[in-house]
């Protein structure tokens, strides 16, 4: 834990962030709903987490049959709600709550893309009544190629009503992993915001 705090302290100092021992960010996305203490990050750092993006980065505990720990970065893409209320891009193989909801769950649609590499790497789902044409424009060849090749290997993201949560499955991330998570989340946020603005 001391190492983790030292890592966050160093990362906060490097990027000019405010270090906070613990902070509740609310149950904004499915991963945050499942967190051990409703959406609490400890430790965390907030401020300008990437070049042009404000947000918060921290450690999240998630309890199922055992406790999992994720490193998450939360930011806002407020303009996204009218276009895409919810969009989840989850690493293949990550255990998620939706596979154990007693047999029935809220309806959603799984997206399919022509990129085999993207399909091998992620499961992408959204609202069942999502404008398919808009989604095709969002998942441009450039974004598909970036998602398939560039983010950290265990990166996933959840967009829900303007809250964008990037995450990696790291108990004790190093400064490079924190930086990679923040930059990957910023890249996704910028892409969504740009498509909403067009």
């Amino acid at each position: 834990m001391a190492d983790l705090e030292a890592t966050y302290s160093a990362f906060a100092a490097e990027r000019g962030l405010e270090l906070v021992p613990a902070v509740g960010i609310g149950q904004l996305t499915p991963l945050l709903v499942e967190s051990t203490v409703g959406g609490q990050l400890a430790p965390a750092a907030r401020g300008r987490i990437s070049a042009e993006l404000d947000g918060i980065v921290g450690q999240l505990a998630y309890k199922r049959n055992k406790t999992f720990r994720f490193t998450v970065a939360l930011t806002r893409v407020l303009s996204s709600t009218p276009f895409v209320p919810r969009l989840f891009c989850i690493r293949q193989g990550r255990s998620t709550r939706d596979d154990e909801f007693y047999g029935f769950e809220a309806r959603h649609s799984k997206l399919w893309t022509e990129s085999e590499k993207l399909n091998d790497r992620f499961t992408i789902s959204t609202s069942p009544y999502q404008d398919a044409n808009w989604m095709r424009q969002l998942f441009s060849p450039a974004l598909v190629d970036w998602l398939a090749n560039e983010p950290p290997a265990d990166f996933s993201f959840e967009l829900a009503y303007g809250a964008l949560l990037g995450s990696i499955e790291e108990d004790a991330p190093g400064p490079d992993q924190l930086a990679a998570l923040c930059d990957a989340t910023a890249h996704v946020a910028a892409r969504i915001a740009r498509e909403c603005g067009e």
Binding site: G26, Q27, L28, T29, P30, L32, V33, T81, P82, P85, R86, D98, D99, E100, F101, Y102, G103, F104, E105, A106, R107, H108, S127, P128, Y129, Q130, A160, Y161
Partner: protein, 147 residues
């Protein structure tokens, strides 16, 4: 609501095991009292499986109807006027929403809607939230809410 892999597994398990509990004791010539006890339990299991099949098919039909409205309906907006929940289904809140429904060519009117929603969605159903809505062109009272 939609059935998932766990639901298919549950239907398969209760259906097959229930049927087996009804038939196997008879086939093996078990004592009548034993066959009745095991068979009764099996019948309940089988009925549970059939109930789940009915519920899944009902939701499938409803989803197909909603998909039709999405494809052919008139796009408008629904502003949340009030939201609350007093019940859950499979740990998901059953939300009661009061909406200001604005459909072009039809006009504005107040409507209520009950929806089973994930927790993170239910938490965001606040007064003033504007969501897309699609109305059935043949019956504007029939609409879907995009959340």
């Amino acid at each position: 609501m939609q059935i998932n892999r766990t639901g298919i597994w549950l239907i398969g398990f209760f259906g097959v095991a229930g049927l087996a509990m009804c038939l196997v004791p008879l086939a093996l010539g078990a004592d009548a009292e034993v066959a009745l006890i095991i068979g009764s339990t099996g019948a309940i299991w089988f009925l549970v499986a059939m109930g789940l099949v009915w519920y899944a098919r009902h939701n499938q039909k409803k989803a197909a109807h909603n998909d039709w409205i999405f494809q052919n309906g008139i796009r408008g907006t629904a502003t949340v006027l009030d939201a609350g929940s007093h019940a859950t289904v499979n740990e998901l809140p059953l939300m009661k929403l009061t909406l200001d429904l604005d459909i072009p060519g039809v006009g504005r009117r107040e409507a209520t809607r009950r929806e089973v929603m994930p927790v993170f969605t239910a938490n965001r159903m606040e007064q003033g939230l504007v969501l897309p809505a699609y109305a059935n062109p043949e019956d504007p009272g029939d609409f879907i809410l995009v959340w």
